[in-house]
Symmetry: C2
């Protein structure tokens, strides 16, 4: 049976979730939807597929303390700190080095820590097929999400749909990737949606530990060189300083751009399991349970003719009168009031706070 | 020269100003508009007309402490506590008893503590005419506000406009009152506005101290009987207990309904001096200074396409994105979000809190 390990990428900042997400308490460490924090739910979602002691969580020093408390079943040595965020390629490379120490021939499942999946059984079915295919083929696999709207906030993956007998895995719903596409404008997104062969890029990957390390060597040789120095330092007193030196040199690059788009051995499997990246407060509202007035409420809210709104205020009484289509997020030290449909602009608030050096709010 | 004293009625609760106004910090004790609390501004408005030591402030035990600090120029013995609120007639009667001890032949100006007046010179002119007329005529005078819209939130006063030589004060702009009208519906309010002889009832009165006490004796004999017991106890150790007994018996009634409407010696003088009773957050927004986006802001508010809104949050950072026509009042323990034009419904929030016995928010 194939040995499987997992890498949960949990170092993000999540500026679109201000004022709840902060440097010390980013989205993945919050209870955003229902019970459990997002990273806890990501770990839980792997139950029956990957054991916690075969799971790595990549984070940073600021978040490490909170993370250790949230996932006590993951061994402390599996919580990996990056000295600085350098996008997904170094993050995955670093985790692969550590995973190789446990099992060089394992298949590695890479997942963002801050996504939501509602149909767990279907997720497990798709993941099992992907793991089996990755083990058999030595290919790079990604999960592409069945698109339901012309979303401009996601990257897309175009699959090759007419391969026939040239693709031995087509019977499992595994297709070769034709191309990756950046976040499109609305017109392009509508064309993608109509074409039938474009899927949303979920940022979830499945591949052999050795396979991805060889691919990084091929596609990103400089980064690989730095990574080899880190590898040699694992378990020594020089680990931390070597890691910092490496990350000081390494160029930030995504695994999509750095490896996936350059490799000719990339497959995609379609997932249709109630996925969302919860990329904004609007998306959280969409995914939330609502009362009969269409409101999603956390905290004590006195509602007078209030409709279709998201109100989060666990610590303070709210009275809402005649409110419609509003997102309200009330934390201990800040209050967001945002017209529904405009929560992408929350990022501008973070930008403003950075510009004004209002660091206590970041 | 006529001796003048003043009575500032400051015992109200101001439930329409929730969450800022509470039992311990009602509207009149707050800085609602510009500098100074409303009661401080009411006192200041009398400068040059009535001295602080001739001014009485009627309040209650809960608010007394805060009030003493806010109006240090008023002698402590002039701050009168009512054991319980019984509307304006007992409040005015009690103040008149105390005023009579200072000067029985004085003219007494009675003012609510929570109104705003922007044209001070015109207010002084009107008040001087009213004081002179009250002193000469022994009549009851009230100030009627020149109406500028068909307001349904105010009572109205109809003046007799065709008296001619039967009214010796008509040359001063003082008219006999024909009738008092309760808060009208919109249709009636529009008729009032069109008629030209209806004015807004400002709740401001001018009369001789002895005159109003005799009128109370005539119109409200039971109340007067109780008041005489209180009068006899002033300056004795029995004052407090006598007052409490009296207020336990006295029926709550307004001076308008209890005296003004029953008397045939009532005059009104028109005031046009930028008056507002600041009866709601909508009214506060209207009276506030605005920025170029039409927003009235207190506190640090990051605005992204936010218009025509009132945002009060002195203690907590707010980010507003795409917000329009909203009233936001953020205090230490509660948050109000109200569609503009609906702030009269804030009273329903207070009613709800009472019903649910959420007393800490009252």
């Amino acid at each position: 049976m194939t040995k499987v390990c997992a890498v949960i990428m949990a170092g993000g900042v999540g500026t679109r979730f201000w004022p709840r997400s902060r440097e010390k308490s980013p989205k993945q460490l919050l209870e955003v939807l229902g019970k459990g924090t997002m990273v806890q739910n990501t770990l839980k979602r792997l139950e029956g597929i990957v054991a916690p002691h075969d799971t790595f969580v990549v984070t940073n020093r600021i978040q490490r303390g909170a993370l250790l408390k949230q996932v006590p079943s993951v061994p402390e040595e599996n919580i990996l700190d990056e000295p600085v965020g350098r996008n997904t390629a170094p993050c995955i490379g670093l985790a692969a080095l550590h995973a190789r120490r446990i099992a060089p021939d394992a298949v590695m499942v890479v997942l963002p820590a801050d996504h939501v999946i509602t149909d767990l059984a279907e997720f497990h079915r798709v993941l099992a097929v992907a793991i089996e295919t990755a083990a058999e083929s030595g290919s790079l696999l990604t999960i592409g999400i069945h698109p339901t709207r012309p979303e401009t906030g996601y990257g897309y993956i175009q699959s090759l749909t007419d391969e026939g007998a040239h693709n031995p895995y087509v019977g499992r719903g595994v297709m070769r990737v034709k191309a990756f596409a950046e976040k499109p404008n609305l017109q392009t997104a509508e064309r993608f949606l109509g074409s039938g062969d474009f899927l949303w890029n979920s940022g979830t990957f499945i591949w052999g530990v050795d396979v991805i390390l060889r691919q990084i060597e091929t596609c990103l040789p400089e980064m690989h060189g730095e990574m080899m120095k880190v590898d040699a330092a694992i378990g020594t007193q020089q680990y931390q300083s070597t890691l910092e030196k490496a990350y000081g040199v390494i160029r930030g690059i995504s695994i999509d751009y750095g490896v996936m788009e350059k490799s000719d051995n990339v497959f995609v499997i379609k997932g249709d399991f109630g996925w969302s990246d919860l990329g904004s407060w609007d998306e959280v509202y969409l995914q939330s349970g609502k009362d009969s007035s269409g409101n999603s409420i956390t905290g004590t809210v006195i509602q007078i003719e209030t409709r279709d709104s998201y109100i989060y205020s666990p610590g303070k009484l709210v009275a809402a009168i005649g409110v419609e289509d509003l997102i309200v997020v009330n934390t201990d030290d800040a209050l967001l009031i945002c017209r529904k449909g405009r929560s992408q602009e929350v990022k501008e608030v973070s930008d403003y706070l950075k510009r004004k050096q209002m660091n206590e709010y970041l």
